[in-house]
Symmetry: C2
Subunit: 172 residues, 2 copies
C-alpha cells in the first residue's frame, strides 16, 4: 500500500489554494491542499503499525510548525508546477529530517522545497500565463500548524487519512 | 466552520465502494467512502479544541468497532440513496451515542442507520436499475476499525481530516 505524510494548512489557505487548483491541478479531487513532508512510499499493514508508533514519538518530540508564505513560485523548467512557497525554518526542516530516519529511512526524491501546489501538469504556455497572473497576488500569510497526517492512497489515486499526529509536548 | 465525524473502512472496502461512487455518487470527490457517525455541525475554532479533547477521552473509553456488512440496501422512498448496510452492534451504537452527548449534544437528524453510501441523488429509474444490479453482488464482509476521524468542510464542499482518534485503552 502507498503511504505519504503531509500537513494541511488552515481552511483559509486551503480554500484560497483550491480556487486555483480547481482549474490548474489535475490532483484537485484527490487530496486537500497540503505541504508534502514525505512523498509516497510503500509499506505493509504491519510496517505501518510500527511507523505510526514512531510517528507518535516523533510528533511529541517536535515543535508546531510556523508556515510562512511570502510568494508564489514555480519548479519550471524541471516541472511546470506553480506553488505557494513555504519559507523553510528549523522546526519544519527538523520534522522533515526526522521523517526520513528510522523505519522511514528512504532517500528523499528531491531536495526539500516546502510548498503548497496551486497548479501542475500545465502546458508551457498555460504555465507562463497562470504564473504571470498569480504572481501579482499578495499572498503574505503566516500561521502555525500543530499537526501532521499519515495518509494512504486508494486505487483511484485519492488519499485517505490513516492517522493524525499532534506536534509538541503539550499534546501528549 | 462545519465539522463532521466519520470512520473509514479498510482500503479494500473503500476501493470497492468507490468503483460504484465514481458513477453514482456526486460526492465521490469530496470525501473517501465512510460511515458517518455524526452529520455536519457548526463549531468555532475554540469549540473544536474542547470537542477534540472530549473526543480523545471518548475514544479511549470506547472499543474498536466491528464493521459487519451483509447486504446492499436503499433509503428509498425517503431518499434515493443506495448503500452497504453496516449491521448495528453495541460498540458502534455506544460510540454513536457518546458522539451526541456533552459538547456534541445535538439531536441526530435521522435515527442512526449505519451505512456506507454507494450512490445518491439518483433518478427513480436509475435508482431501481442500479439497486437491481448491485443487489446481486455478494458483499459479505467483516472487519474491525480501530479509529475515527473529525473532519471539517472546505468551501468547495470537500472534507479535510482535522484529527484521528484511536479507539480503545491500548492506544492510550
Amino acid at each position: 500500500m502507498k503511504y505519504g505524510i503531509a500537513l494541511f494548512p488552515s481552511k483559509k489557505i486551503q480554500d484560497l489554494v483550491n480556487s486555483y487548483r480547481k482549474r490548474y491541478d489535475p490532483n484537485y479531487a484527490l487530496i486537500p491542499p497540503h505541504v508534502t513532508l514525505k512523498t509516497a512510499f510503500d509499506a505493509s499493514a504491519d510496517d505501518i503499525v510500527t511507523i505510526a508508533n514512531e510517528l507518535r514519538i516523533t510528533a511529541q518530540d517536535s515543535n508546531p510548525i510556523k508556515i510562512s508564505i511570502k510568494k508564489v513560485s514555480s519548479f519550471s523548467p524541471v516541472n511546470n508546477v506553480i506553488y505557494l512557497k513555504v519559507e523553510p525554518n528549523d522546526d519544519l526542516l527538523d520534522l522533515h529530517s526526522k521523517l526520513h530516519k528510522g523505519s522511514l529511512r528512504l532517500e528523499p526524491e528531491y531536495s526539500f522545497v516546502p510548498h503548497i501546489t496551486l497548479g501542475q501538469k500545465l502546458s508551457d504556455d498555460e504555465h507562463s500565463d497562470v504564473l504571470g497572473s498569480i504572481k501579482m497576488l499578495d499572498v503574505q500569510h503566516e500561521e502555525v500548524v500543530d499537526r501532521f497526517h499519515l495518509l494512504y492512497q486508494l486505487e483511484n489515486g485519492s488519499w485517505t487519512v490513516y492517522e493524525t499526529f499532534l506536534l509538541g509536548k503539550d499534546n501528549e
